[in-house]
């Protein structure tokens, strides 16, 4: 890409402009197909946030985190509590999102602190337990003081509002109809751009290189003067804050949160996206996230009619099929393309089996 920019700048910028136009026109085209697809796209972008956040922890720093969805939950609930009739608070979103990111960040550091000494599989189990604790807390913090409203969840969360533009309803600008989801799409796209830029810059930065060093060999990294403790904590905290932001946006878009959205399956789904796309490679992870977000939806629309036609009834629920595909994706990726479909160049060397940690 950089080569193209240097040798043929005109062609490069034409390409960029085409992609930009395609991204801007996408929701308008999708609206014609059905607003549901705009919603699906929005969720896919949210999962891309999550996958990019988890990529910092798993891909860059090599710390396997199986409770990542907990940070998403923290962000979502912070937003829900501060902008819903539940406590009667209605703060604007640009105050809540940073608060949510900060709370998730603190949760990430809380999880990171006791687990710094652990590696690999131990860490995976402890993070998994942490995710479960958060879910159990959300489920049960409804008595004696009603904080989270328990399994019923929190409803009627305020939608986003910037100036006089409400994101909830449809508007017609310049003769074009913009539905609610389409408007959310644009703001999500903006945040996604920012997140991608931050991730790419992080990867090249001193911190990013320190993460990779820790992933490759912690002892060597330490002896090179890297403060492994702080750098690992930073990985947890940064990854978590991305999850927090994604959670806040999720609350605003859905208008409803309940503990059911934050189960282990979701953590595993995000992990599958990172692993399938290619741990450590930002573009690979994005591709993995989009792939695993859209393929199940396509299946939902094709498998059901196909089964109806073939067998006259539903044999396999698309939801189950989705999880089976995730499981198989994890197993097959690790066996045949252990570095993912679009591997990071450095990871490619590591997983080629020439050295073992």
């Amino acid at each position: 890409m950089t080569k193209l920019r240097n040798t043929q700048p005109a062609l490069y910028w034409c390409g960029v402009a085409l992609v930009a136009i395609a991204l801007i026109a996408l929701p308008l085209v999708l609206t014609l197909v059905g607003t549901a697809w705009v919603r699906i796209t929005n969720l896919a972008i949210l999962f891309t946030f999550l996958a990019l956040g988890l990529n910092i922890v798993v891909g860059f720093a090599g710390l396997l985190d199986l409770g990542y969805i907990a940070f998403y939950a923290v962000g979502a609930y912070v937003y829900a509590l501060l902008a819903s009739p539940h406590f009667g608070l209605h703060l604007p979103f640009w105050i809540i999102l940073p608060i949510g990111a900060f709370c998730a960040c603190v949760a990430g550091a809380l999880l990171g602190a006791p687990t710094l000494r652990l590696r690999g599989d131990y860490l995976a189990i402890v993070t998994l337990g942490f995710g479960e604790i958060v879910r159990i807390l959300i489920n049960n913090l409804s008595s004696p003081f009603n904080i989270t409203n328990g399994p019923k969840g929190i409803t009627r969360i305020d939608p986003l509002q910037i100036g006089s533009v409400e994101f909830y309803n449809s508007d017609t600008w310049l003769g074009i109809l913009f539905t609610g989801p389409a408007k959310y799409y644009y703001i999500l796209l903006l945040i996604l751009m920012a997140v991608i830029v931050i991730n790419l810059r992080l990867q090249q930065s001193r911190i990013g290189r320190a993460w990779v060093a820790i992933r490759e060999d912690e002892v060597a990294a330490k002896s090179c003067g890297i403060n492994t403790r702080n750098i690992k904590l930073l990985a947890f905290a940064m990854g978590a804050s991305f999850g927090g932001i994604a959670g806040g946006m999720f609350s605003a878009i859905q208008g409803f949160v309940s503990p059911e959205s934050f189960i282990l399956q979701e953590s595993i789904m995000v992990l599958s996206m990172v692993v399938l796309g290619g741990m450590g490679n930002v573009w690979g992870v994005i591709a993995g996230a989009l792939l695993l977000s859209f393929v199940p939806e396509l299946l939902r629309y094709t498998v059901q009619p196909a089964q109806q036609a073939l067998f006259g009834r539903m044999l396999i629920d698309p939801e189950v099929l989705r999880m089976l595909i995730f499981g198989a994706a994890l197993v097959l990726t690790m066996r045949f393309r252990p570095a993912g479909l679009w591997p990071e160049s450095r990871h490619r060397q590591e997983f080629s089996g020439e050295h073992r940690t």
Partner: protein
């Protein structure tokens, strides 16, 4: 006081189930230093297979005595789980034995999801009522009740653990297992077929898991395709508590975790009743006056204890109670 004894009895029962499952984690970890993430699902499959067999045999008003039906369930569950344990090793672990540690862990998670959802397809997504076919006499000890099923679970677990210990420490194959756990390469040089030993370890672990699955089914009277997840996590916590890689440690850890959980669930409501504490009593005076209790945490927090124990052990004594080797053995 009778609550105390009752919770001890309940804790011993669940604890012996945890111990059986924890043995599976610890044996596999001891031999290839990997956590068999899908072990909890093996327990679930054991319970499910036993459920099917028992339901089929009991439903037809058969002349078989209930105990025989139950044994038939166990007898069907064990080979089914052994096959799954073997498949797990072949598909998820053997091809990746020399890959970085993250890789087999991820395949194991994948296998665990696949097993769970296959079970969902076969046995439906609803909780299944485990048929209660044998009569369950209740005995009384010091004001607490102990059921026949509880006694059977505890005795059977002890017997199985004794058999396993004998097998590992007193037979030729046990020597091979211990040698492989010590050093795979040296053991291979001494004529031990490492692949066979590792596969056998998975199979033995799966057999124990099958029995544990049937125990859980009969004890709680219910099976569900997600039951393996929480059980597996708790058993893993038990294995870490005792010192992973250590057989006696897994047994001790399982029993201890069962006791902690039962006593925790029995007493947490009382301990977090704000009205019982002098200072807090003042703070919440109004609500205490209204109904006399202000319980912050009830027994619905039971599942949290295992994780708290796990995190505490990993922070303060990563080698566990009986383990000598530290977690960071690469």
């Amino acid at each position: 006081m009778d609550i105390f004894i009752q919770q001890i009895i309940n804790g011993l029962t669940t604890g012996s189930v945890y111990a059986l499952v924890a043995l599976g984690y610890t044996m596999v970890y001891g031999i290839i230093q990997l956590i068999n993430f899908a072990h909890g699902e093996v327990v679930m499959i054991g319970a499910m297979v036993a459920f099917s067999v028992i339901t089929a045999l009991a439903g037809t008003a058969s002349p078989l005595p209930p105990a025989v039906i139950l044994l038939a369930g166990v007898a069907a569950a064990i080979p089914a789980c052994m096959a799954i344990g073997y498949l797990l090793e072949r598909i998820a672990y053997r091809p990746l034995r020399h890959a970085p540690r993250l890789a087999p862990l991820i395949t194991a998670i994948g296998m665990s999801i696949i097993l769970q959802h296959l079970a969902l397809l076969v046995w439906s997504r609803n909780p299944l009522a485990f048929p209660q076919i044998i009569d369950n006499p209740v005995f009384s000890i010091g004001g607490a009740a102990i059921t026949g099923v509880q006694i059977a679970i505890i005795l059977l677990s002890v017997a199985l653990m004794a058999m396993l210990t004998w097998f590992v420490y007193r037979t030729r194959f046990g020597i091979a297992i211990r040698a492989t756990a010590e050093n795979v390469h040296v053991a291979s040089l001494m004529g031990v077929d490492a692949n066979r030993v590792i596969a056998a370890t998975f199979i033995i672990a799966a057999a124990l898991a099958a029995v544990a699955g049937v125990m859980v089914g009969t004890y709680y009277g219910i099976t569900h395709y997600t039951m393996g997840f929480m059980l597996g996590l708790k058993a893993f916590s038990a294995a870490v508590l005792g010192g992973i890689g250590n057989l006696a440690g897994a047994m001790l850890g399982g029993i201890l975790l069962g006791l902690v959980e039962a006593l925790g669930a029995g007493y947490i409501g009382e301990l977090t009743d704000m009205c019982k504490w002098p200072l807090m009593n003042q703070v919440f005076a109004e609500r205490c006056a209204a109904d006399g209790h202000l319980v912050l945490m009830g027994s619905n927090y039971q599942d949290v204890f295992a994780f708290l124990v796990l995190i505490a052990v990993l922070v303060f004594r990563p080698s566990g109670l009986l383990g000598e080797r530290v977690a960071e053995r690469a």
